[in-house]
Symmetry: none
Subunit: 474 residues, 2 copies
């Protein structure tokens, strides 16, 4: 057993003390590589504390790659020289959510067999070989590998992006309007500065919490605007004092509706009348399974009121940290006078992405991903219907990488999460997506991602969910 | 029936042509609200095309809300209750804007034969082959190429950085205090938010203008503090109202002095007494040609008042957009509660950099660069002395990638720049580095970078400068 001293006097919670001491001992060699960690039970007996902090500390060590797990054996201290470092398990926004809601201690699931993580994408189809080639070519064929690039993004990449966005999303723009960035939080920061001065922004309720929190932090007043089955409620928006609005019209996050044409025209008319900006987040516009992709709002805007944001995180990989924003001409001109706002990502990555487009790989990749996701999506819906029939309702499921599921039960979503977790399945509710007290629908709603889950795991996961929930369904 | 022209010559697929033409006619009123669309069958007969493109186009119109479906009746054009729409999009604006920015190239003087750009680094020594290998290994050996990384930076990279900073710069920190970012402007933004609330920051005068502008834009009050031959003037700082300060103590930018030990202690005492933060920008700490590298201010701070910022831009390449910041524990803990502030760069690049360190390449690279820069530096000083003798004075030249040169002439620095440019040499003054009216030294000062200039070009450049200026020297 290890030398662990826990203090009940400490301000640090038990699990943090445990985690830090074990981590430090692993790092300084006090616990040697290859050592099997004592079981939770034995630590519990020795220390006379409850199981939860021990399990949590172990989970943290596992997530950070200090130990690895051998099935039916236990946790072993990693050998940094021979073992591959395990990668931390938490996507950053999931972490962001738990950190934003510290009181909602996340139940640490026993062992996650199936994770319906809505932010995951399919890793097995990542074009590793081709991307490696693109990086090669980028390094070999470009002068300037030691020079600063254009802070707005490489012009050559913006050129291919303008073309792509026109063809695939109906976006009308010149490369001068495009700002290449390292993720939506970068885009929101640039935008917050461009729109400086007190702004009041209407925000979908429920909506994408990280962006909402960022706007608040940047000094915006955020007004929650309810989402109906036609997307953001125009009635409510018109009644509000908002002079800007954030929307996900192609596939509302998290509820899923598509904003119909009439609403779009009405939204644009509102923006024109108020001289307001509409921030269109087209986070998963590439993936639509019924009908054809829906054109962007930006494409039908005639007054330069729409700011369009797209990303490579869903369609390619979030690990690359590459996205783009299309500014109306007026804002693009303002930005030219504030160059210190900008800070582009690696120009090597940008060159690689440019080549990926120019050589047609992007289109092939998207087609491949769309087919794969369509299949998973179909399988998921079919399995849910098979095992749950009328007792669940699936909505907002024509696009993207997650399903919204309403479950007919008297229990709350928290209970559903816990029951699922006991079966080794991780599902997600979206209570944190609400700014104000959630409107209580009759039945709890969960959102289930399938992007990073294999068809086999989808099948298994749904079966386990049926097992977890069958007794509480009505 | 409508006026639809389909072209088999067009690059656009049939369904796109159909969809676009119908959509535009709906939007411009060519097809009136309430009109029933002709059946698929009748369009098929009229146009003599297959059913699929027609069905697809109809589906798109339906999905986007241009038409609605009446059961057992057909599709009807919607009435959007808006002004009569004119022609789509804003191509005129786009054109006008592109015309304003016809090329990205900056107006370049005559022809630049030699550019003494102070921000350039040596491209010929970039370890292209090894970096390619590191990228390979990063892609091959890490799980999670499709997952979000840690928004604070990959833990494994922070681990090697903490070790490196300790050894090479005397920085004391744990990986938990390190924030990996995409450049100093990212670090300054994160910091501005962490130090939120009205802050008054002392700033070296002259100093690094981009950071100064960013602080101003982020709502800080900036107080210029004169630089003496001992760096930032402590006398002036102590008299000011500043509750934070930005310094480049290892090699003041742009004037070059090193802050001596006694001043450092005095600066830290000031910070302790005021509970002020000291922002230490160690932008080129790796390159020192005389004496030992000077250790960081952070390393002698015992009160957690120093924020340390370093970069890979000088020692490796600015194209990669990778830097790091070390926060005092107090600020690092505050940051944990505001995770939405953070947005790390590509995790693939981070893994590659980690491997670059772990395999010893970084140390070899730095040694190699230091030798190369030392040689160039020596050659530069020697050539300037050879051609200008007593008529110039070189200062601040014990470190970094540029020289500060005072030229004995009655003309202003602008004239010197113009004369140099006529000979095809680009040199830089630093008038923009002053916040207030520059203190007028007796003779104009220029700063000449040598990082990106070959020894041959240094020789040539100095000769050309001599030719350009010899008539106006006193």
């Amino acid at each position: 057993m290890f030398d662990i001293l826990l203090s009940t006097q400490s301000e640090q919670p038990m699990y943090i003390q445990l985690y830090r001491q074990m981590r430090d001992q692993i790092r300084n060699g006090g616990i040697s590589p290859g050592t099997r960690l004592p079981s939770v039970r034995s630590v519990q007996l020795q220390m006379n504390i409850s199981k939860t902090p021990i399990e949590t500390a172990y989970q943290m060590l596992l997530a950070e790659g200090y130990v690895h797990s051998k099935p039916r054996s236990g946790l072993y201290v990693i050998d940094p020289h021979t073992d591959k470092p395990a990668s931390p398990a938490h996507p950053d926004h999931v972490r962001a959510f738990s950190a934003m809601h510290p009181t909602r201690a996340e139940p640490v699931p026993q062992k996650v067999a199936v994770d319906f993580d809505p932010s995951a994408v399919d890793e097995s189809l990542f074009p590793l070989r081709i991307w490696r080639k693109m990086l090669h070519e980028a390094l070999d064929s470009h002068a300037g590998v030691c020079r600063y690039g254009d802070a707005q993004g490489e012009y050559s990449l913006r050129l291919v992006l303008a073309e792509y966005l026109k063809n695939s999303r109906g976006v009308n723009c010149s490369p001068e309007q495009i700002v290449v960035g390292s993720g939506i939080s970068y885009s929101i920061d640039v935008l917050s500065k461009l729109l400086s001065g007190r702004q009041t922004i209407g925000f979908e309720e429920p909506g994408f919490a990280p962006v909402r929190e960022q706007f608040k932090h940047n000094g915006f007043q955020v007004i929650p605007i309810p989402v109906t089955d036609k997307g953001l409620s125009l009635d409510e928006l018109e009644k509000s004092d908002a002079n800007a609005v954030y929307v996900t019209p192609s596939h509302q996050f998290p509820l899923g509706p598509v904003m119909p044409y009439a609403e779009r025209e009405r939204l644009l008319a509102w923006a024109r009348a108020r001289r307001a900006y509409v921030l269109e987040d087209d986070y998963d516009g590439e993936f639509r399974y019924f009908g054809k992709p829906i054109s962007s709002l930006q494409g039908i805007d005639r007054d330069g009121r729409v700011i369009y944001i797209g990303t490579f995180s869903k369609a390619f990989t979030p690990a690359l940290r590459l996205n783009y924003m299309v500014l109306p001409v007026e804002l693009a001109e303002k930005m030219q006078r504030m160059p210190y706002l900008l800070n582009s990502p690696s120009r090597i990555d940008q060159w690689a992405m440019q080549a990926f487009f120019e050589q047609g790989h992007w289109y092939r990749h998207i087609r491949r991903m769309r087919n794969a996701y369509r299949k998973k999506h179909q399988r998921f819906v079919e399995q849910l219907q098979l095992h749950f029939g009328e007792r669940i309702e699936i909505t907002g499921h024509s696009a993207g990488l997650h399903l919204l599921v309403t479950i007919r039960t008297d229990r709350c979503s928290r209970t559903l999460l816990e029951l699922a977790s006991q079966q080794g399945v991780r599902v997600y509710d979206f209570s944190q997506m609400w700014m104000e007290t959630p409107r209580t629908p009759r039945y709890p709603q969960l959102y289930l991602g399938f992007g990073g889950t294999s068809e086999r795991d989808i099948e298994l996961g749904v079966k386990l969910l049926q097992k977890a929930w069958h007794e509480i369904l009505v």
